[in-house]
């Protein structure tokens, strides 16, 4: 069995999962209007960590060298997660998986952080920095697979433990809001001019966010948790490189395979944490996949109204919230959602509700037609 033993979120809503969860209970959002000409010529909404809060949290942390914004976020996240367990990060039996779409992409600008070596733009170098900092002897595994990276990383970590390669795997991930990424999404005209509205009839695009998040999986149970990895899979739409399949093909296949691995049917799912980016096409596609699997009544949430779309961190941030929901048997209402605006009748969580959550599903989709699914259960 593979257990979820600890987790953390570093975001504008807090630097621990508990802080973030409490923020979500109050329907807080990290999304605000950002006016920074270095990031984009016009103001735009995004969820960004206040730099001085990040710096303050990082003071007092032993550092021989300079770290980038993303590296600080990741280090803080891993540190906090580790503090909740007694696993040995220096052991050969502890693996590290890093999930990120663009890493230190801001280093492409030669004027940005000139004291940092440019080769830290290489994701493998970023991974090494993490393992070196924490004294882990293994080569880090870096997953860079668009917005499904986080969920895929959890599936990979579970596989590594099941194979007997490691006893514990620290899955960490993060992405920053950068000029590169903001400009790119703006050119796709896929950003909402306001905070995003997942599954809503007035939804008009996504909001970007930055975060780091860490989840530790282990073959050993702890007293604090009985949540296990039950199944996970990925699948490609084979349709278009940026638009999702109109029939939710890849999403459907990924969920089906995850259910098969879990040895359960769709009727066993108590709650779904969808990808829910609030673009017209993504949310519609997910509703089709959910409908095809007959999960119309299953309460489904998106947390992107609180965190924005945190790209490589998304799968981890949102799974950490899902894990907490399961521990509390509580489903948080989807911030930004008011009225259903997809063609299929699905049950979006519109009020924070108690429910016995024994088996839950996490969905993710990303550019390149990628889709992933993960099933978590109480042991």
């Amino acid at each position: 069995m593979v257990y979820f033993i600890a987790d953390n979120i570093v975001s504008p809503l807090g630097f621990s999962t508990t802080e973030n969860f409490d923020s979500l209970l109050r329907a807080n959002t990290g999304i605000r209007i950002i006016s920074d000409g270095n990031l984009y010529p016009e103001p735009f909404p995004a969820s960004m960590i206040e730099t001085d809060i990040l710096e303050k949290a990082f003071t007092g942390i032993p550092a021989e060298a300079s770290f980038t914004r993303l590296e600080k976020m990741l280090i803080l996240s891993i540190k906090d997660t580790l503090s909740k367990t007694d696993i040995d990060i220096r052991s050969e039996r502890t693996g590290i998986v890093l999930s990120t779409t663009k890493g230190n992409i801001d280093l492409l600008d030669p004027e940005k952080s000139p004291e940092i070596e440019r080769d830290r733009i290489h994701l493998w170098k970023l991974g090494r920095l993490i393992t070196d900092y924490f004294g882990n002897p293994n080569e880090p595994v870096i997953l860079s697979n668009a917005c499904i990276s986080g969920v895929l990383a959890i599936n990979l970590a579970a596989g590594l433990i099941q194979q007997g390669k490691y006893d514990h795997v620290i899955v960490t991930g993060g992405d920053i809001v950068s000029r590169f990424v903001v400009s790119g999404f703006m050119s796709f005209m896929s950003l909402s001019p306001a905070a995003c509205k997942p599954f809503d009839k007035d939804r008009d695009g996504l909001s970007l966010g930055e975060a780091a998040s860490t989840i530790i999986l282990s073959k050993h149970k702890t007293e604090q948790t009985n949540l296990i990895f039950k199944g996970g899979a990925s699948a490609n739409d084979a349709n278009h490189i940026s638009g999702p399949s109109r029939t939710g093909e890849g999403s459907f296949i990924a969920i089906k395979k995850a259910l098969a691995e879990a040895g359960i049917g769709a009727t066993s799912i108590d709650h779904i944490s969808a990808h829910g980016t609030a673009t017209v096409y993504n949310d519609e596609m997910e509703s089709i996949a959910i409908d095809r699997l007959g999960m119309n009544k299953v309460p489904v949430s998106s947390f992107k109204g609180n965190f924005g779309h945190t790209l490589g961190a998304a799968g981890l941030v949102e799974t950490a919230i899902l894990l907490t929901e399961m521990k509390c048997n509580l489903m948080i209402k989807t911030t930004g959602f008011n009225e259903l605006g997809v063609s299929r009748d699905i049950n979006v969580v519109s009020e924070t509700t108690n429910k016995a959550l024994n088996t839950c599903l996490k969905m993710a989709s990303g550019f390149g037609g990628s889709n992933a699914a993960l099933i978590i259960q109480k042991a």
Binding site: S187, M189, I241, S242, G243
Partner: protein, 85 residues
């Protein structure tokens, strides 16, 4: 207008990487999108929006407007003429 349409053809071939295509291969009234025409897709539509801004200083706020404007070379040229005044 003729000159503009010719220039547009060249710019589109360049901007959208329509390799092995010559301006003469594109009829001014041929539909640019869909299987009957040049077979351009949604990313091409976004590139055309960039082209309009970069080369002609015209900004399109709503991508949905693109469907009418980018129907053919002629509709594009007409739109540009109208908005350049």
């Amino acid at each position: 207008m003729e000159e503009l349409m010719q220039k547009l053809k060249e710019q589109i071939i360049e901007q959208l990487n329509l390799e092995d295509m010559e301006p003469d291969d594109i009829g001014v009234d041929d539909p640019l999108f869909g299987d009957d025409g040049l077979g351009l897709d949604s990313i091409d539509a976004l590139e055309l929006i960039v082209l309009l801004e970069k080369e002609y200083g015209i900004k399109i706020e709503n991508p949905k407007d693109g469907q009418k404007i980018f129907f053919s070379i002629r509709t594009m040229a007409e739109f540009i003429e109208e908005h350049k005044k």
